[in-house]
């Protein structure tokens, strides 16, 4: 029996170069430093990519590398208008991310925010098209809000009801609901488009009926103000309310919730209706504040981006502010840089995707610790350790 092991061929192998272990307690300053360096790294990468893809030669523009950042700042915070528009983009992302957070916290993977917001837009647009011109503006806005709330909440409630009673897979259900919403909106805008045009077009362009009133010369301000309040309210709801506590218990486990007598069905449906309602508000603000119409692309993928923001913000609405602002800066700013540095504006999506991937990667460094064994690694070259076959790299990755 001992001979068997000895028969094995002895191969030289290094000790692993590094070793990964889970961190137990992570100090806040460390998380802060890691996140900050990754954010800076992501911004640097954006600059490098812009530098590489721009066809402008260094002779024509010696400050080519820096100019990306200049154009980003110019595109986002150059004047009040661009600044408001950037903030508007950021706050729309923020409110959608905050809206889906209660659902995510109870492990209901709602990736249907896109459709829920779109249904909110749809509801608001219906009022705008048919009723708003004939009633006072504030009444029109209220009606738009109400219909947006109902539409979006219903859109969120349907998958929730099936999830609660039949445990239907909510991820796919909400995903399909997105496309159904898109189809409904497409049919609506085709049906009521002006003859000769291909889409619905801006509604009530002359009368501004159902348009959000302007304050300090910007139609975004009211919306931004509402959103900030809503986000704080959601944060409070999750942290201090009994409902929020129930959601936190469900986040632990369904069994625990049943054990303490929480009605899981009720909480699931109620939370999703809340999610839908907030998405509806987002849709209403989007239509009344900026788009003034509805089309298939009016939400523009914000529902999906919001999922990432919600997750990266650790389901804390206040933390999401950072990522939504950064993402808005990168997308809006990069489009401006792309126009000036002569490459395709599609770069915005690419950079936004890269940004999220990098921030996501930073989670690894806050959750795990890499311990390097440099001394053992180099020492063991000359020793005769026994392990066979595997390369040090593969082993290192596994530990």
């Amino acid at each position: 029996m001992p001979e068997l092991a000895q028969k094995q061929k002895v191969k030289k192998v290094r000790n692993p170069l590094f070793h990964i272990a889970r961190r137990n307690e992570v100090p806040t300053w460390f998380v802060f430093v890691v996140k900050l360096s990754f954010i800076l790294g992501a911004l640097l990468l954006c600059g490098i990519i812009s530098f590489l893809v721009s066809p402008i030669t260094l002779d024509e523009m010696p400050e080519k590398f820096i100019s990306y950042y200049i154009f980003v700042v110019e595109g986002t915070f150059f004047n009040m208008n661009t600044a408001f528009s950037t903030l508007w983009n950021a706050s729309l992302l923020l409110i959608i991310a905050a809206a889906i957070t209660p659902a995510f916290k109870m492990k209901f993977w709602n990736i249907g925010a896109e459709g829920q917001v779109l249904m909110g837009c749809f509801g608001a647009a219906i009022v705008m098209k048919f009723i708003a011109p004939s009633i006072p503006n504030f009444l029109a806005l209220i009606l738009m809000l109400v219909l947006a709330l109902i539409f979006a909440a219903a859109w969120a409630a349907i998958p929730a009801i099936f999830k609660a009673f039949f445990n239907t897979n909510e991820t796919l259900f909400t995903l399909m609901m997105n496309y159904i919403a898109i189809g409904l909106v497409a049919a609506f805008s085709l049906k009521f488009k002006a003859t000769g045009s291909t889409a619905l077009g801006v509604l009530n362009a002359g009368t501004h009926a159902g348009w959000m009133p302007e304050i300090f010369g910007s139609s975004y301000l009211i919306g931004i103000f509402v959103i900030i309040n809503l986000v704080v309210a959601l944060w409070f709801y999750l942290k201090y309310s009994k409902h929020g506590y129930e959601i936190a218990v469900l986040n632990g486990s369904v069994r625990t919730a049943e054990y303490v007598g929480i009605n899981v069905k009720v909480v699931t449906i109620r939370t999703m209706i809340l999610c839908g309602a907030v998405c509806g508000i987002a849709g209403f603000l989007l239509v009344s504040g900026s788009s003034h119409t509805v089309s298939e692309t009016v939400v523009g993928g914000r529902g999906f981006t919001a999922v990432m923001i919600s997750w990266l913000g650790h389901f804390n609405p206040l933390e999401m502010v950072l990522y939504s602002v950064l993402n808005a800066i990168i997308t809006v700013g990069s489009s401006n840089a792309a126009a000036n540095l002569q490459y395709s504006g599609e770069v915005a999506n690419v950079l936004s995707g890269l940004f999220f991937l990098l921030i996501l990667t930073s989670e690894f460094f806050t959750n795990f610790r890499i311990r390097f064994n440099l001394r053992q690694f180099f020492k063991s070259k000359n020793e005769p350790p026994m392990s066979e076959g595997q390369t040090p790299k593969a082993e290192g990755g596994k530990q």
């Binding site: 029996m1 092991a5 000895q6 692993p16 936190a248 986040n251 625990t256 009605n263 350790p385 392990s387």
Partner: protein, 582 residues
């Protein structure tokens, strides 16, 4: 046979975060011996063996196999040195058959090596040939296993057999078993020990991780004791006694006797009649269960795991719907005043109409007809309305929240601490209010009282935690259990149900839990204790109910019975059935 050192561990250290699981551990293993690795829960036995089996990478120290330094960085490496481990939580794929589970992970080279050892021609991936080889191994060592049976239809002991065969199939010479007896009946343990002796005869070395002294003395040749992550020493079994081993294990003398308090019972508390439960697949999980628990009594529930213990407790707690039968609860209200705590005026009026009350100091039934709500409120506040008899309620089909609303103080410590009893990601305070968060007005949670309770428990039960705001999952197993049991007891329950409360706890924590349970008994609660260690059940409980396959196999008085009798009750039918299958 001359003794040869096959394994030597030198200075093994493993650190998880800030916890040192193993510190500078030295251990050797000789061929053809059974070594017991003894230690309390949490003393680092499993971690040390996981380092040998390639699950954990030690932070320092070396492993020598047959005198040569090796590095075992994965289970595959371990198999190369003919080391195999049967983990406490079996590593099997439920949806696969036995033979599929055995051949998973075998590469072409492995097949060749196995064939070389057997002296046969190398087989590639061939389930039929593998099944034949499994049958051969079974015959050689005296196992029984159908290679084509799916794992999800197997009993625990069959799964364990499969794990051992998996290791033997790979030709291991050193087999590590982690707490192999924890889930087995006395009879099954005997069978397992027979197999181990047969393997020893075959020249294999075996390490058994355990914390049970009697087994150590019965099966092993040598004992190594771990204490707080360090090897406290090793000793030949022939020189060892329970007393010596305990002292080595704990570092000081411990009184190993659980005191059963002999106090008179205080009347029926919970009567379960003809209780049946249909499982998800339509099969009956509980069949016509009948029993009564009295106040000031501990009723133990024994049975091989999965016999319906969990379902029984969950049904009483109101977590299952699909039930037949009755669960009668006697609320000890006799000669007690009614309060507004759980009865509103409407309910009081109804009960009075049924003649349930008398006025303080008078014997005749009290009538509330014609009295205004204000008058009744005043009477209740002055504690003038008195119950004639205990309140009798049927709990069957009631949800946990309805049971609570009825004013029934029923506490339940489930076996799955973090998956059911507590929320791991929440801190101590939030966990305290799991059962009571609805209290208080408005939609906002009130955290003052739970915070006070948490502080009280931490002081009283010596819960070791950095602060009240630490997530519960970061605490050690013993402290987590104290949090859970402490919370459940803090409501002063009339019926307390505990499932496997000392699983994974060290000796001191275990005894603290036993004491808490005894105190509840003293206070008049009816306690239902589900446990796996028959010694503990016999020492702690007044009566023991044996569950077998969802049925009551018998209710015995703990003073007049022994382990063997309980063990026989636990298995009789199962054995009959498995013979039918074979």
């Amino acid at each position: 046979m001359e003794k040869q050192q096959v394994i030597e561990l030198k200075g093994i250290t493993k650190i998880f975060g800030r916890i040192v699981a193993n510190h500078d551990c030295n251990l050797s293993l000789y061929n053809g011996e059974i070594l017991s690795l003894l230690g309390e829960n949490g003393s680092g036995k499993t971690t040390l063996m996981n380092a040998l089996a390639g699950i954990y990478c030690p932070d320092a120290g070396d492993i020598y196999v047959n005198g040569e330094k090796v590095r075992i960085s994965s289970p595959h490496d371990a198999y190369k040195y003919h080391i195999g481990m049967v983990h406490q939580h079996f590593k099997l794929v439920d949806t696969f058959t036995a033979v599929e589970n055995v051949v998973v992970g075998l590469t072409k080279k492995d097949y060749e090596e196995i064939a070389k050892k057997d002296g046969t021609k190398a087989q590639g991936f061939n389930l039929k040939a593998s099944a034949n080889r499994i049958t051969e191994i079974c015959n050689k060592f005296g196992f029984k296993l159908n290679p084509w049976q799916k794992v999800n239809t197997m009993s625990v002991s069959e799964k364990q057999t499969l794990e051992i065969i998996k290791a033997l199939y790979r030709g291991v010479d050193i087999l590590i078993l982690d707490e192999p007896t924890a889930v087995l009946t006395p009879q099954e343990i005997e069978k397992l020990f027979d197999v181990l002796r047969a393997m020893k005869k075959d020249g294999k070395s075996i390490i058994i991780i355990t914390h049970k002294l009697n087994e150590v003395l019965e099966i092993s040749d040598r004992v190594a004791v771990l204490c707080k992550g360090e090897v406290a020493g090793d000793i030949l079994t022939e020189n060892a006694t329970e007393k010596i081993l305990t002292e080595m294990m704990v570092g000081h003398k411990v009184d190993l006797n659980i005191n059963r308090m002999e106090i008179p019972t205080t009347g029926e508390r919970l009567i379960v009649q003809d209780l049946s439960l249909n499982g998800r697949d339509g099969r009956k999980v509980l069949k016509n269960i009948n029993f009564t628990v009295y106040g000031s009594e501990i009723l133990g529930i024994a049975g091989i795991s999965g016999s319906g213990q969990k379902e029984l407790l969950e049904t009483i707690a109101g977590l299952n719907r699909n039930t037949q039968g009755t669960i009668i609860f006697h609320n000890p209200k006799k000669e007690q005043p009614v309060t507004f705590f759980h009865k509103n005026i409407k309910q009081i009026r109804e009960l009075a109409a049924q003649g349930k009350f008398h006025l303080k100091g008078k014997k005749e039934p009290l009538s509330l007809v014609g009295k205004t709500n204000k008058e009744i409120t005043e009477m209740v506040n002055k504690e003038q309305i008195i119950f004639y008899e205990d309140e009798i309620m049927n709990l069957k089909g009631k949800k946990p929240i309805e049971i609570r609303d009825l004013g029934i103080k029923l506490s339940f410590v489930p076996e799955d601490r973090l998956g059911m009893g507590l929320v791991g990601s929440m801190d101590l305070i939030d966990n305290m209010m799991l059962r009571s968060f609805r209290k208080g007005k408005g939609g906002i949670v009130h955290r003052n009282k739970p915070a006070a309770l948490a502080k009280e428990l931490v002081d009283e039960l010596e819960i070791k935690t950095p602060s009240l705001h630490t997530s519960v999952k970061k605490l050690s197993g013993g402290n987590i259990q104290k949090v859970l049991v402490g919370r459940e007891i803090s409501t002063r329950p009339k019926v307390l149900m505990v499932a496997y409360p000392v699983r994974g706890l060290d000796i001191n924590s275990s005894y603290m839990i036993y004491n808490l349970i005894n105190k509840q008994k003293e206070k008049g609660s009816a306690v239902i204790y589900v446990g796996e260690d028959l010694d503990v059940i016999l020492a702690l409980c007044d009566r023991v109910l044996v569950l077998r396959d969802g049925e009551v196999a018998g209710i015995l008085n703990c003073k007049d019975t022994n382990k063997n009798e309980i063990g026989l009750l636990m298995t009789k039918k199962v054995e009959e059935r498995s013979e039918e299958n074979a």
